[in-house]
Amino acid sequence: MWKRKYRSEEQKDKISAYLYISPFFIIFAIIGLYPAIFSLYLAFQRWNGLGEMEFVGLRNFTIVLQDPVFWKSVYNTIVMGLMGTAPQLVVGIILAFILNQTYLKFKNTFRAMIFMPYITSMVAVALVFGVFFSNNETALANYVLNIFGLDPVSWKTSEWGAKIAISIMVFWRWVGYNTIIYLAGLQSIPKSLYEAARIDGANILQQLRYITIPLLKPFIILTVFFSTVGALQLFTEPTVFLGNAAFSRTEAMTIVMYLYRDAFNLQSFGTASATAIILLALIIIFSAINTYLSSGLGKKERRAKS
């Protein structure tokens, strides 16, 4: 009797679960599935977007993998990911931790200001950064370099200038976003834990190490995963920053820009789709590695403690 009731409870849970996750999958089936299959199909076709398609086997993949510009874009994407995205996560945690302190005054104001870059329109951001990091010797960034006795940089056309300027822009725009997610994570940690730790005489660093980081770990993994995907799909910031030159120069061309250029500038949807599939593989590899590394982070702490 008891057993039967238990089973029906389990049955009910299953139905609930499927029902609760169904909206996402229903909408995905309507709007997401077709593009996915279409892209997969296109990767083996030669198509200019308008005429007939022609089956070409693996030719698209060969073209892309043999193109030095593609490998340059992979390199650029990784470098800018390391410079622009990785520091966000560290600074984001620090900011969230400070903003979560109970005694902090003007919490609301600080939080709003730090989140501001994320809500400022890309048009404005592009105009502002375009002026500050222009090729001109009088650009604000070059002015600052000059104060330190350094030579001016052509920010939009030099190998490292473009990467650094875009990384700064990416960092600036997304720090607040990650801070907000970490804050949500911190809110899910009961305040009583900190009080107990304080009573035991733990200082801030100890609190950070033994309470915050381990309990925040799932959120860190979450942001690491999404930041990895975001970094590998970097598109809007460099495109807007570089303006007209975005798809013709390679100093800061990312993988998605390479793909977009193939599709919309060169009318080669086949190679664009092939690139998307290669990118998919890269994203899976990198997010697996990063997620693995960041989940190792908390484990070591725990071992050290016990």
Binding site: A112, S121, V256
Partner: protein, 279 residues
């Protein structure tokens, strides 16, 4: 001993406030500069070193914007778009997050992985097939045509799953079940109140992302009556005869409502924290 400790305390505070102040300043500076440009004639944009103080053309520039685009109509369309998308994403994500966090069911991991994979197709490539679908559903020029793509938000499900499994104790759910609560009742009266802070976070993120997206909105909405603010603003910025004062004014006034929305969410965020801690 105690004074040394107090000194350390206050030093720590000075450092924290200093750090926050620097980060905040860097964060809002471009926004401030946008405001400065919105109050000046076009030429100020070109001046080097950049102009740093507001001018006197605040009203004039905005007037020029109003003459050129249906600003308030577009703002309203955007508002409707963002509110609906945010509500739907919150609902879908919290339900699915609840299911993934607290239920056991066959295929759970595979399905979760599937959600992860859906976000990996670069949106730029999905443009043509998605446009094709939307046009076949006769949804071109409608807000629903724009929304339907935004409803898919894997981040929301991830975030909600994580937050729910961290902050909703299993014991609470068990207890409610013993009391005879249905799963939906548990969701509504136990889970929902606890996850309000996460709602605020996800709400802000979804709302602002929807507000700022351009490419898809531009592709679907072609009729000026259906324009959202991003699409309308883009028609201000056409290559010839650029009036930067006007463009910046449009951008500035279009960002301001977002700040208000953010502050509202922020309040929800704060109030739900204090409520949560009482419990």
């Amino acid at each position: 001993m105690s004074t040394a400790r107090q000194k350390l305390e206050s030093l720590k505070k000075v450092f924290m406030y200093g750090f926050l102040a620097v980060v905040s300043l860097i964060s809002i500076f471009p926004f401030y500069w946008m405001f400065v440009m919105a109050t000046r004639p076009s030429a100020a944009y070109n001046s080097i070193p950049p102009t740093m103080t507001p001018g006197d053309r605040l009203v004039e520039n905005f007037q020029a914007v109003l003459n050129k685009i249906p600003f308030f109509g577009a703002l309203w369309n955007t508002f409707v778009l963002c509110v609906v998308v945010t509500l739907v994403v919150l609902l879908i994500s919290s339900l699915a997050g609840f299911a993934f966090a607290k239920f056991k069911f066959p295929g759970k991991n595979v399905l979760f992985l599937a959600i992860l994979l859906t976000m990996i197709i670069p949106p730029q490539l999905g443009l043509i097939p998605q446009y094709y679908l939307v046009s076949k559903f006769h949804l071109l020029d409608t807000l629903l045509g724009v929304m339907i793509v935004f409803f898919l938000n894997p981040l929301g499900i991830f975030l909600m799953r994580q937050y729910i499994s961290n902050s909703v104790p299993d014991e609470l759910i068990e207890a409610a079940k013993l009391d005879g609560c249905s799963n939906f009742k548990i969701f509504r009266s136990i889970v929902l109140p606890i996850i309000l802070p996460a709602f605020a976070t996800l709400g802000i993120i979804v709302f602002t992302a929807t507000w700022g997206e351009f490419l898809w909105q531009f592709t679907v909405l072609r009729d000026p009556a259906s324009y959202t603010i991003q699409v309308a603003l883009s028609s201000l910025n056409t290559t010839n005869n650029v009036d930067f004062g006007m463009v910046m004014s449009g951008v500035f006034w279009a960002t301001l409502p977002l700040v208000v929305v953010f502050l509202m969410f922020n309040k929800l965020f704060i109030s739900s924290i204090t409520e949560g801690s009482v419990k």
